[in-house]
Amino acid sequence: MSAQRAVVSLRGVSKEFGRGGVVALEGIDLDVRPGEFVSLIGPSGCGKSTLLRIVGDLIQPTAGGVSVNGKPPRRAREDRDYGIVFQDAVLFDWRTVEKNIALPLEMTGWSRERRRTRVRELLDLVELSGFEKHYPWQLSGGMQQRVSIARALSFSPALLLMDEPFGALDEMTRERMNLELLQIWEQTGSTVIFVTHSIAEAVFLSTRVVVMSPRPGRITGLVDIDLPRPRGNETREAARYAELIRDVRRTLRRGGGFEVDEDTSVEERLIAAEEGL
């Protein structure tokens, strides 16, 4: 794979906060190919959100080279090459669902008519048709997050950056959102970089899991997820799924960071019990 063809290419990226302060990231090399679904996993404070923000040109790396869609990240940001979703939906209370989704389009001067058509399509995609005129605070947490995903997809960006998007949701909603996200990913063909600290979620969603170590954040392993697609509820019961979860867990433990207990899902706990952890 050549670096030119990668959607995101990171070479020796490091980030230090403050003068001689905390080293959040050290020597990160990573290429994300078009259409990939890459999860970044690691314990709290391993710099995975920082890495995502560097890709999005929301913060600057201290050292190293970054290219997004073959451009410097700043150019990519100004060209609206990516959409971003945070852990909280970050919707504007004073705008209806429709207007929240249309905000990025409004800012680039799309006509009212065009915006309306696009918002319809997006609401359809995230299964929220009929909620155009609702205000964010009239929706449940899962629905709010779907609005936020629709907003990130408004430009049909080639790249979707997601920072623990389902971290604040309950387990049932989270599993449903995982399925929906996979459907959206398959329909749109975008490349996704997904930050999470749930091993099960990372394995279920990804084509590749990037395992990171705690401070300073380094990549300690890459796990290819060869589970068949389309993935569904039966995937979670497959033996291979459990195996891959174990692989990721072992890689995490080798990296010296095993503090993921705060978000352990049911499967993870069952598997952990089997292994006598």
């Binding site: 940001r77 971003i84 209370d93 004073w94 929706l139 449940s140 629905m143």
Partner: protein, 296 residues
């Protein structure tokens, strides 16, 4: 879908329900008024009965007029063969209201613009904020005559000086609260705007100002009543005839013979303040769209 029905429940209540809640609110206010009235008269009655006194202070018609006398005097002529007191005070209230409204508009605009400028520069904030605070520690009574001298004789109507004095009291809470509101934008909302390549102006218009609105309205409520006080005080040195300030000064001189009139004037001044406050509250209801739990 279960989530959809849950969401519907949180929509606005039907009209009948809202009318009911207004009726309850009105009943509550009237009951509180009745209780306060009762306490006033009870204190008066008990004070006279026991010849209560505190130093020079005793309870009698002069210090504690009956509330019905205060209301009653509104319907009596203000001077022999003159118009009723309520008519005189109504005209005075209109004069003061004009000054206060102009002062409020001026002060609120200046206060808001000042905050918008200051939020963008740490240097200006650090340089100017202490002086803005200092401006409010100078008593308004010391400023008022100077404003009148500066602005007088420049072809400006004399009520404009009063409006400027009212504005002086109005701008401060607006600046401080707006500054706080503009700075309280969610950092991730700012990141989001950055990801859309939005500049300072877009961030200001689409994020900071809408975020600040609940703060701004909290300040405007304070300023609304302050502008009425500012106008009344401003009338004294500005020698603007016909305002409530003049009425207060006037009835103060005749307090010994007709205490009810000063009390009645205070009542009208208070009512004017309440009207200003309610106007801001109404505007807030129309402008600010927030989750019910985030509305003060």
């Amino acid at each position: 879908m279960a989530t959809a029905t849950a969401a519907r429940v949180r929509e606005q209540a039907p009209l009948a329900e809202r009318l009911g809640s207004w009726a309850r609110q009105a009943a509550l206010l009237l009951s509180v008024l009745a209780v306060l009235w009762g306490l006033w008269e009870l204190f008066r009655w008990a004070g006279e009965k026991t010849s209560f006194h505190l130093g020079q202070f005793t309870v009698n018609d002069r210090t504690f007029p009956h509330l019905h006398d205060i209301f009653g005097t509104l319907g009596e002529p203000s001077r022999r063969n003159g118009p009723m007191l309520i008519e005189v005070l109504w005209d005075a209230a209109l004069v003061t209201a004009k000054e206060a409204a102009a002062g409020f508009a001026l002060g609120a605009s200046i206060g808001f613009l000042l905050a918008v400028v200051l939020v963008h520069s740490r240097l200006l904030r650090r340089g100017f904020l202490p002086y803005i605070v200092a401006s409010q520690t100078v008593p308004i009574l010391a400023i008022a005559p100077m404003v009148v001298v500066w602005l007088g004789g420049r072809g400006l109507p004399s009520w404009f000086s009063v409006a400027v004095i009212a504005a002086y009291l109005t701008f401060f809470p607006v600046t401080i609260n707006t500054l706080r509101g503009l700075a309280s934008a969610d950092p991730r909302a700012l990141e989001l705007m950055r990801s859309y390549a939005g500049g300072r102006l877009a961030v200001l218009w689409r994020v900071r100002i809408p975020t600040s609105l609940p703060f701004v309205f909290a300040a405007l409520k304070i300023s609304a009543t302050a502008s009425v006080v500012g106008a009344i005080i401003g009338e004294l040195p500005a020698s603007v005839g016909g305002g409530l300030g003049n009425a207060i000064l006037n009835f103060n001189q005749y307090y010994a013979s007709a205490p009810d009139r000063l009390w009645a004037t205070n009542l009208i001044a208070a009512t004017l303040g309440i009207v200003f406050f309610l106007a801001v509250t109404l505007a807030e209801k129309l402008v600010v769209r927030r989750a019910p739990e985030n509305v003060a």
